[in-house]
């Protein structure tokens, strides 16, 4: 019936198809453009929908007007039969150039419309974006929640960073990220550090697996995560410095350390880097450059200086967490003298 109406209209003027998006807005599109999309085509031909404003074709949920516009642009270009493959390819390359968020939306919309050529194109573009990135970078790019436990995240990462080029890249990315963060934001985390970690792989593994409560490293890492209300300028720290800060935290924990909490992204990257640097040292092909080592040494010295100067201020912050502390003596620490000092200072009600 509606087709009959169309037949009358066709020879005189361009025929249009009516489409409705979920927000309720209806638009009309040239028939040949819209028909390039199989779902629309089928709806139109088999069910007769879309021929008038009162009976528009209802588009799937994920197709909002903006996306529909993009999709129709794509159809408009490609439905013209006379174009060469090269032309189409060039168009596709340019079409795909948009920010990641939009690209995701477009992929989603094309997929819900089951529009295969565009789905293929957008998926390939997204694949290119993902390739070569670390998990954290992927999370940043797509605004994904950081909800995996540290153990889950780090396990495979530790083992795939053995291509020297990629590790170097990761290091560079991590450094760049650090620099940007420091420039942009105030510090939320109380320690942003790059461990120059001397522990062996076995120690690290046992730490990850939750064993070895007496290991210095265990307390260090776990306590760091539990106490994060610190504004720190420091970039790096030695393990001894972190122990110093942890002395108070250990006290507050009452020895109830039995699970690993999720670290913030920056800390993950630090841990990642620390593992990275660990592998660097064991890898003769891709050792740390002497320049890098020097830089790290310099940074360590800087941090030590900063730490010593800010201690009174930090002491106050620690105290703001609570008034009383029960102290648990730590065994097996490297800089026992440093640890003993803060505990003495904190011991009051």
């Amino acid at each position: 019936m509606s087709k009959g109406v169309l037949a009358v209209v066709k020879p005189k003027m361009k025929s249009y198809i009516w489409l409705q998006t979920t927000d309720g807005s209806i638009q009309q599109v040239e028939e040949e453009v819209a028909m390039f999309c199989p779902v629309i085509c089928r709806e139109f031909l088999q069910k007769g929908m879309g021929s008038s404003k009162n009976y528009p074709i209802l588009l799937p949920e994920r197709v909002n007007p903006a996306m529909l516009g993009l999709i129709l642009d794509y159809c408009r270009f490609h439905q013209v039969p006379g174009r060469s493959n090269k032309e189409r390819k060039t168009y596709d390359e340019r079409f795909i150039r948009m920010d990641t968020q939009r690209l995701c939306e477009l992929t989603s919309a094309a997929y819900s419309l089951k529009f295969k050529p565009l789905v293929d194109l957008t998926c390939r573009a997204l694949a290119r974006i993902i390739e070569g990135k670390t998990s954290e970078e992927i999370r940043d790019t797509f605004h994904l929640a950081d909800d995996l436990t540290e153990e889950e995240k780090l396990e495979p990462l530790r083992n795939i960073t053995d291509d020297p080029r990629i590790r170097r890249l990761n290091r560079l990315y991590a450094k760049k990220r650090k620099e940007l963060k420091e420039r942009d934001k105030p510090k939320d985390n109380w320690v942003e550090e790059e461990h120059v970690d001397e522990r062996s792989v076995d120690d690290l593994l046992s730490f990850i697996n939750g064993g070895g409560k007496d290991t210095k490293g265990v307390r260090t890492m776990k306590n760091k995560k539990k106490n994060r209300r610190r504004k720190e300028q420091a970039k790096d720290s030695t393990s001894s410095n972190s122990d110093e800060l942890n002395a108070a935290c250990v006290a507050s924990n009452e020895g109830n350390i039995d699970h690993i909490l999720v670290p913030t992204p920056s800390e993950t990257s630090k841990l990642h880097d620390s593992f990275d640097s660990l592998f660097d040292e064991s890898d003769s092909d891709d050792g740390l450059d002497p320049a890098m080592k020097e830089q790290l040494d310099r940074e360590v010295e800087d941090f030590a200086r900063i730490l010593n100067s800010n201690w009174p201020e930090r002491k106050r912050e620690i105290l703001s967490l609570g008034n009383e502390r029960r102290l648990v003596p730590i065994s097996g620490n490297v800089n026992g003298s440093i640890n003993r000092l803060p505990s003495k200072q904190l011991y009051f009600s």
Partner: protein
């Protein structure tokens, strides 16, 4: 005294702060979803299938949504690019990727150890295709583990795994009876007559077997293989020096689909073997009218390597070449390889003869 709850509260505030950051991207305009995390699983898997394997592993560690999607949907994985930590990598990813059907762990430098294979066997029960080539460090424990854990194996490559014994391989065949493609190249201790007898008993679906450099293989084993695996299409007996004509005759009579045969350096092979192969083709023809209509091999043997089989004479090999039209000696389609057989230079395939006639002045190199 600071209570654990206080700390949790501080931590919780921080967590929300981070979560809030990511929520900035979430535009709640009506029902339209712009948040990437709501992408359908199929779409995510499609994208992951387009990236390289290393990125796929990284992607599984991005967030719980991606991890679940990838662990649910990833069926093929190759970790051969991992040059140093493959063992640990397998230990960490195998428990996650339980739907794996194809796993390629070919190594340049031997890294895999038994615990990795045991982990694979423990978690990846759907595994059909496993490549463990050049895993020098593996011991029989791996084969026993695979036997129990991966009964659906159809393709197994353990070439270069010299530490395996025939007892373990025999055990494996009892459980992995669906094996179609088995590569035992270089498995000197595993590929013995005893193992081949076990294969013949258990793996009736076997189509391709590589016994290259397995010098303990003898007639007893190959005959059992021929009787037990009628569907055999490709057999490589390279450097299996103990083989005699009896093996080839058994193969010719029982493996009617044999397409590729490698007899490099099998010095005991004589014309008898060649004639038996040719005759089997003739015998095959009436069979076509009976039950094997759709499966009749039009071409028969397509590839034969008789290099260094110096006992062969030109007449026998020529007869063979004439019987199987797919055996070529011509340049470009060279499938009848006779390197080192100086007395076979006169053997030509039909097309080579044609070419020879047209360009009669140019001497034709036999190999």
């Amino acid at each position: 005294m600071v209570k654990a709850e206080d700390l949790d509260l501080c931590f919780g505030k921080l967590m929300m702060a981070t979560a809030g950051k990511s929520d900035e991207g979430l535009k709640m305009e009506g029902v339209v979803i712009t948040e990437w995390k709501d992408i359908p699983i199929e779409l995510l898997l499609r994208i992951v299938s387009l990236v390289d394997d290393r990125t796929a592993v990284v992607a599984s560690g991005v967030c719980t949504g991606w991890r679940d999607a990838i662990c649910f949907g990833l069926t093929q994985l190759c970790l051969s690019w991992c040059k140093k930590n493959m063992n640990n990598l397998v230990l960490s990813v195998a428990p996650k990727f339980r739907k794996l059907q194809t796993l390629i762990l070919h190594q340049e430098y031997p890294q895999l150890e038994d615990n990795a294979v045991e982990t694979i066997a423990k978690f990846c029960h759907d595994l059909q295709d496993l490549d463990l080539s050049k895993s020098f460090k593996l011991s029989d424990c791996s084969l026993y583990a695979l036997a129990h854990g991966c009964p659906d194996l159809t393709k197994l490559n353990i070439s270069g795994c010299t530490a395996f014994s025939d007892e373990a391989l025999e055990y494996l065949t009892k459980f992995c009876q669906k094996l179609k493609i088995l590569n035992l190249c270089g498995c000197v201790n595993a590929a013995t007559d005893r193992a081949l007898q076990a294969i013949g008993r258990n793996c009736a679906l076997l189509q391709s077997l590589n016994l290259g450099w397995c010098q303990k293989v003898g007639d007893v084993g190959v005959k059992s293989l021929a009787y037990g695996c009628p569907d055999l299409r490709s057999l490589d007996l390279c450097e299996c020096v103990c083989i005699t004509d009896d093996s080839v005759i058994a193969l010719a009579n029982n493996c009617r689909h044999l397409r590729s045969l490698g007899l490099y350096f099998c010095r005991n092979i004589t014309d008898r073997a060649m004639y038996s192969l040719a005759q089997s083709r003739v015998k095959n023809t009436p069979a076509m009218w009976q039950s094997m209509k759709g499966r009749y091999d039009e071409e028969g043997l397509t590839s034969l390597n008789i290099s260094q089989c110096t006992a062969l004479t030109p007449s026998a090999v020529q007869a063979l070449c004439d019987t199987f039209p797919a055996l070529h000696t011509c340049y470009g389609r060279h499938s009848l390889v006779m390197s080192g057989c100086l007395n076979l230079t006169s053997v030509h395939c039909a097309c080579a003869v044609q070419a020879h006639r047209t360009v009669s002045n140019i001497p034709y190199p036999a190999h």
